[in-house]
């Protein structure tokens, strides 16, 4: 297991390298002069030159890259062009709300997704199956920002059960945004659980259990459900990245003080150091999540370890 873990960590290095090069290149991919971009639209020549010197943009690219990585290692992500505050501090402020939202969304989607998928599998071919799958395909087809607006309309404006938007740490504020965020993934999970479940139901040990007279309910929940959950667990990890992406839209709808909305604001005002840092941060999360998924998979499926 340890060997597999180390091997998997080593394999991450080239990916992280590519990601860091891309994040570094981001500023240079922008059309025009990065120093001028950084200095802002109404900067004079002297200011632009000062920026160029300060950012080291007059140095050769490889040297710039090494300096960039050196700064990253000490947590220096640059200064926000808009607020003149260190990007690291700006991000630290918004990190927790985004993670709370994503984890909560994940919880909804696991509960609803697995439940719907399991119901559809147990009642395969009956109305429960069709209803669950209709709800699921609808969940995949509904745009998150629209679902968010509808939920606000119904539960915040008309029924007044939950606040319209914003987040100050109260659980009531978390309900609508996390439901919105979790809806699509719940639909994906339901489909995935259904197919995993149906596959398990075709296994011989299920026939054996039935043949020896185990009650159907017990066959479903003890023999089939548990084994069907194994692929679902890895799916949870993979979908977490999708949730982080979706949080950009959901945070904008609910005025959520997180990284996603911050990213959209940064695009709007062309705050490039912030964008660069956020892209890097998100990428690191995805690489890390993939590592965790692989490890969990190796834990529950020994065949992978000895490959």
């Amino acid at each position: 297991m340890l060997r597999f873990f180390l091997k998997r960590c080593l394999a991450m290095i080239p990916v992280l390298f590519v990601v860091s090069v891309l994040a570094f290149a981001f500023v240079h991919l922008l059309p025009g002069d990065p120093a001028r971009m950084m200095a802002g639209p109404d900067a004079d020549v002297a200011t632009i030159e000062a920026f160029r010197q300060q950012l080291g943009l007059d140095r050769p690219l490889p040297e710039q890259y090494v300096r960039y990585i050196g700064k990253l290692l000490v947590g220096d992500l640059g200064i926000s062009l808009r607020t003149k505050i260190a990007v690291f501090d700006e991000i630290a402020l918004r990190y927790t709300p985004t993670m709370v939202l994503a984890l909560c969304g994940m919880a909804w989607s696991v509960v609803f997704g697995v439940l719907f998928g399991a119901i559809a599998a147990i009642h395969s071919g009956k109305w429960q199956d069709y209803t669950a799958m209709l709800v699921s395909v609808s969940g995949i087809s509904v745009p998150q920002f629209w679902l968010g607006l509808l939920l606000i309309q119904l539960f915040a404006v008309y029924l007044g059960w939950f606040p319209v938007a914003g987040y100050s740490g109260k659980w009531q504020e978390l309900v609508l945004p996390s439901l919105t965020l979790g809806a699509t993934v719940a639909a994906i999970m339901a489909r995935f659980t259904l197919s995993a479940f149906l596959e398990v139901l075709g296994e011989e040990y299920i026939s054996t259990a039935r043949a020896k007279g185990v009650r159907e309910r017990l066959v479903m929940w003890k023999h089939a459900f548990r084994n069907a959950l194994i692929p679902v667990v890895t799916m949870i990890g993979l979908q977490f990245g999708f949730l982080l992406g979706g949080s950009v839209v959901v945070e904008t709808v609910f005025a959520w003080p997180g990284l996603g909305r911050y990213m959209i604001e940064a695009v709007g005002v062309r705050d490039y150091p912030v964008l660069q840092a956020l892209l890097l941060l998100y990428s690191f999360h995805f690489v890390f999540i993939n590592l965790v998924v692989d490890m969990v998979y190796a834990l529950i499926n020994p065949e992978i370890r000895y490959e």
């Binding site: 990916v15 590519v18 609808s138 087809s141 920002f145 607006l149 892209l279």
Partner: protein, 283 residues
């Protein structure tokens, strides 16, 4: 005794028509395309004509989906908006498919270093949620519909490449490809004439499934202010405009959303049907 010849199309049709929902979805997609193409014939009003006396009117006989803040007819804007959503959805997937299929063919056919390079790059793209990748691309290229098409097509590429690479690996060892090679067919001919047609069923299924996702992503980008800009009648942009009037003019939120939802739903149902009929693994 008469011997029935069953063409691949007959086989496909036999399976496809058993999926009632997919058949219904196909009919709706055709209708939608007709409405989009002949938008001026179907739209009751000019989608851009403002009338401040008619601001935010609820649905009526004159305006079946009501009017927006500027008194523009929402139904007409939705009808014209279908042109944008269908065109953006279709073009971005088409571009993604053309590039992805070519890369997949190269990757599977040549193997070695090229294969490694293409597949590792698509791994990195794959790990990134589409919407974030699209935002990064729009941040570089600037907002606008054309850049949205570019952004959305980039994140369709890796999956097309993977699907095609997989089938290419199998097809290049088949007898008919080896026979073509032995009579001196060029590599390009082998790839595009002999191998590519065999990979297309997977490509077509994914193509349909992807249109729905692309329409949602493009609408999301417009909603975030990164795609179509007002006063363009785009569904996502219309919903962004409706945000400030929740509880005041709910029809502004309701109808453009229904348009996106149904369009995407029909493409997804159609794609499911195609997969059931074309995927050899789901017999």
């Amino acid at each position: 005794m008469e011997h029935n010849v069953v063409s691949p199309f007959d086989l496909f049709w036999h399976k496809f028509k058993k999926r009632r929902t997919a058949l219904v979805a196909a009919v709706f997609i055709v209708l939608l395309v007709v409405v989009a193409v002949f938008a001026p014939l179907f739209a009751p009003h000019d989608p851009m004509a403002t009338d401040y006396a008619q601001s935010m009117q609820p649905p009526s006989f004159e305006h079946p989906a009501g009017t927006d803040v500027y008194g523009r007819d929402i139904l007409s804007r939705i009808i014209y908006g279908s042109r944008i959503s269908l065109a953006v959805g279709f073009t971005s997937v088409l571009v993604g498919a053309l590039v992805g299929v070519t890369l997949g063919l190269i990757s599977g056919f040549f193997g070695g270093f090229l294969d490694g390079l293409i597949m590792r790059t698509s791994d990195v793209l794959f790990a990134f949620p589409g919407i974030l990748l699209a935002i990064a691309i729009v941040a570089i290229l600037g907002p606008g519909l054309v850049n949205v098409v570019v952004a959305v097509s980039v994140f369709s590429m890796p999956t097309f490449a993977r699907i095609v690479r997989g089938s290419t690996l199998g097809l290049k060892e088949t007898l008919y490809v080896r026979a073509a090679r032995s009579v001196g067919a060029s590599r390009r001919r082998l790839m595009f004439v002999h191998i590519m047609p065999g990979t297309l069923s997977g490509v077509i299924v994914y193509f349909t499934m992807r249109i729905g996702t692309s329409i949602i992503t493009a609408a999301s980008l417009s909603f975030l202010g990164l795609g179509a800009q007002p006063p363009t009648p785009e569904w996502g942009a219309m919903l962004a405009e409706s945000r400030d009037y929740i509880g005041v003019a709910d029809h502004m939120t309701l109808f453009p959303g229904i348009a996106i939802f149904l369009t995407v739903l029909f493409f997804n149902l159609f794609g499911d049907g195609l997969r059931a009929a074309l995927d050899p693994k789901l017999k």
